[in-house]
Symmetry: C2
Subunit: 270 residues, 2 copies
C-alpha cells in the first residue's frame, strides 16, 4: 500500500456522484493508503465512511452559497500536508476533470515541487442518465455531448453562445444549473431548439434521496423548481434523454431456455 | 448477491477505460453476480480477469474495421439470455452513456418486457487527462467540454458545425478521432481556433501500454500519426490540456512538519 502514495505526494481522487459503490476500486485503495484525506461538501457520506478510523480527515467543503474555504486556502493546506511528508488524498465530488478546479491545485503543488497524480471518477451526468435508463449520446441523433456549468455569481449574466448550444444533434448536460434553468430554457428555445426537446432533471444523482424528473425544454424551469430541493442537480437536454419506461418484471421464462442454450453453445465456439 | 441482478434482467455496465482498478465497485459486484457476461473488444483484459471462472463469457466485440457482431445480433443475444432467465451483464468499454449505443439495447430489451439497469463507467477522456495531470475544464478559460466522435465510414465526410466547435473557451474531446485528426485540425483552424491551441493525444488510456503526447492543434495530425499505433486513441484540444511537468520527487520535508501540525490541529476543530 505504501507504494501507492509515496510520502509527500498528493493524489486528486474522484469520489464519484455520491453512491459509494460508484467509487472506483483505485479510489478505494488510495483512500485506504492515505495519511490524510481532504474532502469536498459534495463527497457522499457513504464514501467518507470508507476512510479508515486512524486516517486524518479534513473538510474543505465548497458549495455554492454556503460556508466554504477559498481555493487559495485549499491549495495551501494540500501543500502544507505534502511538505510535511504526508500521503495526501484530495477527494473531489464527481470527476476531478469536470468542473473540479483541478488545475489550480495541480499548478500550485507542481510550482512547489510536489508530485500530484489524478484518479478519475464518475461524473454526475453519467450517473444521472444511468438512473434514467438513458444515454448522453445517441447514434445518428446525438453525436456529441457538451458538459457545461450555468452557475453565475449574483448580478452576473449567463454569457454563452446559445446559437452553438442549441444544436438538436447534441446533448447538453448542465451542472449547477438549478438557478439558471429558466434562462437556459428561454435562451435555447430562442436560439431555435425545439420547445418539446426532451429534458431530464436529476437531484442527488445515485444517492438514496435521488429525485428524477422526465420533462421537456419548455417545462424545464417549472420541473426544476418543483422537483429540486437543496441537493446538487443536473439538467440534461436532448433527444438522448427521451423518457423510457422500465417494463414490469419479466414473466415465466421456461419457453426461452432451449433457444438460449443453442445460442450460448454457438457463441462459446467462436 | 442474487438480489443485485434478478433472473431475466440485464445490467449494462461501464467497464471503464481498461485499467481494472478504474472499474467501479458496483461493476465489480455486478460481474461477480452475473450468470453470463457479454463484453466488447474495448473491455480491458484485466477487467475480464474479474469474471468468475464459472460464469459464461461471450465476446460481442465491436471495433472500427475489425470483426464484429452487428448491433441487431447483440440486441438479440442479450434478449435471448434474459428471456432464458439468466442474470445478464453487458460490459461496455468506458461509460455506457458515451458513444456506447446503449439506447439501442435498452429499447430492444424494454420492447420485449426485459428490465434493464445501467451502471456508469469512467470514460476514456477522463482517464486520458488524468494521466496527463490535466483537466477537461478550466475555471474562467474552459467553462465547457464537448465529447464527440470523428468516426465516419469510408467515403463519408465529417459533417460538423466547425464554427461552433472552434470555441477557445471550451475543450473538445474527440473519440475515435485517429483517422480524422488531420481534418479536425484543419477545420478547427479554418474556423478560427488558434493553431497553437494545446492538444493531447492518448492511446490506450489507463493501460500499461498507454502512450501520451502533448502537442498543439497544428501538429495534431503529425503527432497522432507518429504516436498512435493500433489502440483506441482520444484527442483532447483546448487550454485545459496545456502541458504541465511533474516535478522531481520531493526533498527533505522535516522543516515543514511543525507548520503542518498547527494547520492540522486547527482544521480538526472546525
Amino acid at each position: 500500500m505504501s507504494e501507492l502514495i509515496p510520502p509527500g505526494t498528493v493524489w486528486l481522487v474522484g469520489a464519484g456522484p455520491g453512491d459509494p459503490d460508484l467509487l472506483t476500486r483505485k479510489a478505494e485503495k488510495l483512500i485506504a493508503a492515505a495519511d490524510v484525506v481532504f474532502y469536498d461538501a459534495l463527497v457522499g457520506p457513504g464514501v467518507l465512511d470508507l476512510i479508515p478510523a486512524g486516517t486524518q480527515r479534513i473538510s474543505v467543503g465548497k458549495r455554492a452559497g454556503r460556508h466554504s474555504k477559498d481555493q487559495a486556502s485549499i491549495n495551501d493546506l494540500l501543500l502544507a500536508a505534502a511538505q510535511a511528508g504526508k500521503r495526501v488524498v484530495r477527494l473531489k465530488g464527481g470527476d476531478p476533470a469536470i468542473f473540479g478546479r483541478t488545475t489550480e491545485e495541480v499548478d500550485h503543488l507542481f510550482a512547489q515541487g510536489v508530485p500530484v497524480k489524478i484518479c478519475p471518477g464518475i461524473t454526475a451526468a453519467s450517473a444521472a442518465v444511468a438512473s434514467a435508463g438513458a444515454s448522453l449520446t445517441l447514434r445518428g441523433n446525438a453525436r456529441a455531448v457538451t458538459f457545461m456549468t450555468a452557475h453565475v455569481r449574483a448580478g452576473e449574466k449567463l454569457d454563452l453562445d446559445w446559437a452553438a448550444l442549441a444544436d438538436a444533434r447534441s446533448t447538453l448536460a448542465i451542472y449547477m444549473g438549478k438557478a439558471a434553468a429558466r434562462d437556459v430554457a428561454i435562451n435555447l428555445i430562442k436560439a431555435g431548439l425545439g420547445a418539446d426537446t426532451p429534458a431530464l432533471v436529476v437531484e442527488n444523482a445515485s444517492l438514496q434521496n435521488e429525485r428524477l424528473v422526465q420533462t421537456r425544454l419548455d417545462l424545464l424551469a417549472v420541473a426544476t423548481a418543483a422537483a429540486v430541493t437543496d441537493g446538487p442537480a443536473i439538467l440534461v437536454i436532448g433527444d438522448a434523454v427521451r423518457g423510457r419506461k422500465q417494463p414490469a418484471a419479466p414473466g415465466d421464462s421456461t419457453v426461452h431456455k432451449n433457444a438460449w442454450k443453442k445460442i450460448a453453445a454457438a457463441s462459446a465456439h467462436e
